[in-house]
């Protein structure tokens, strides 16, 4: 009986130690829509939920849109209002995807690997495919992932006079950093 309990405990603890799905409550997503005419439209969300399954390569991110913090109150208001992200109606931005070259990333060995991430980004009620490359750095038990990509806001139904006037970028840069 003691051997059975000990064996069960060993299996359980081994599973926990080598847990394949890693999560974090504090990934960071930056949004930079600045132009030569206006340096204000950029924000950072430091409370993004993210997951990475090291066995399947599946990745996911969930961000509360209102938690993108701008330095300027007026830009903050514009970003969230019905003419832009409409965060009252679409409060969350979500990415679901996977690392398509998973064999190129050795999660058991320290080093930096280039991971191709393909998935779908849903924001403003619209879902579009996204492909990007992430730098995945393994250091002991810690996994750091960094990626940048651009999105065309018009593809997500986001348009406005400020874009037409060149004050907000048509394809802002999204930067993602996550530590698992």
């Amino acid at each position: 009986m003691k051997k059975t309990i000990l064996s069960a405990a060993l299996v359980l603890s081994t599973g926990l130690i080598f847990a394949q799905k890693k999560t974090t409550t504090s990934a960071i997503i930056s949004f930079d829509a600045t132009t030569s005419l206006d340096k204000l439209p950029k924000a950072e969300n430091k409370t993004v939920i993210a997951s990475l399954d090291t066995r399947t390569g599946k990745v996911a991110f969930e961000a509360t849109v209102k938690n993108f913090a701008f330095s300027n109150p007026r830009i903050q208001e514009h970003f969230n209002n019905a003419g832009w992200m409409d965060s009252d109606q679409f409060p969350t931005a979500v990415f679901k995807g996977e690392i398509t070259n998973l064999t190129a990333v050795n999660f058991a060995k320290d080093g930096t690997y280039s991971a191709v991430v393909k998935g779908e980004l849903t924001m403003h009620g619209v879902t579009k495919p996204v492909v990007t490359t992430a730098a995945v750095t393994i250091s002991g038990k810690t996994i750091n992932a960094v990626a940048d990509f651009n999105v065309k806001v018009a593809d997500y139904g986001i348009e406005g006079p400020a874009i037409g006037a060149g004050k907000v970028s048509k394809d802002p840069k999204i930067s993602v950093t996550a530590e698992f």
């Binding site: 999560t23 974090t24 409550t25 504090s26 990934a27 960071i28 204000l40 430091k46 409370t47 939920i49 993210a50 997951s51 996911a60 969930e62 509360t64 849109v65 209102k66 938690n67 913090a69 330095s71 300027n72 109150p73 007026r74 830009i75 903050q76 969230n80 009252d88 409060p91 969350t92 950093t177 530590e179």
Partner: protein
């Protein structure tokens, strides 16, 4: 140039100046330090989380973009890159509140430890139900430790 014309020119000039100042002010304005803001609500962690778990849409409408002081116990100090977030969790569950701090208040956030009983003031961004974590996550931005 007669006097009436001169008066009109001065009036137009003053209006342009006032308008320009107004636009300049709006677009160079920064958020006030949260420590100097009056709070809209003062809540405790269990009751606050329970409101979102009961009706997330209703709670989001009530609390989004409001300045709220939340009292509770630090469950986790989450250091990430150059920043730090503080997490308060519900007792016996997974739902949590996460606080992201204003730059000038990061140092005081870094002093906090798990188990500290504190109050944090910030701008509530509302909650989402996380499919990843299978629980409610309530986010705050521009936070400060309430003294």
């Amino acid at each position: 140039m007669n006097k009436t014309y001169k008066k009109w020119m001065i009036a137009v000039f003053v209006m342009i100046l006032a308008g320009s100042f107004g636009v300049w002010h709006v677009f160079t304005e920064k958020f006030t330090d949260t420590a100097d803001l009056k709070s809209d609500y003062a809540v405790n962690v269990p009751d606050f989380i329970n409101e979102f778990k009961t009706d997330i849409n209703q709670a989001n409408k009530k609390y989004a973009e409001k300045i709220i002081v939340v009292s509770g116990i630090v469950s986790e100090v989450k250091a990430a890159y150059t920043t730090v977030n503080i997490i308060m969790k519900e007792s016996g569950g997974d739902a949590y509140i996460i606080f992201a701090f204003q730059q000038q208040h990061l140092a005081e956030a870094r002093q906090l430890k798990e188990g500290d009983r504190i109050a944090i003031k910030g701008s509530c961004s509302g909650a989402l139900y996380s499919e990843i974590l299978e629980t409610e996550s309530i986010s705050f931005k521009r936070c400060t430790v309430e003294k």
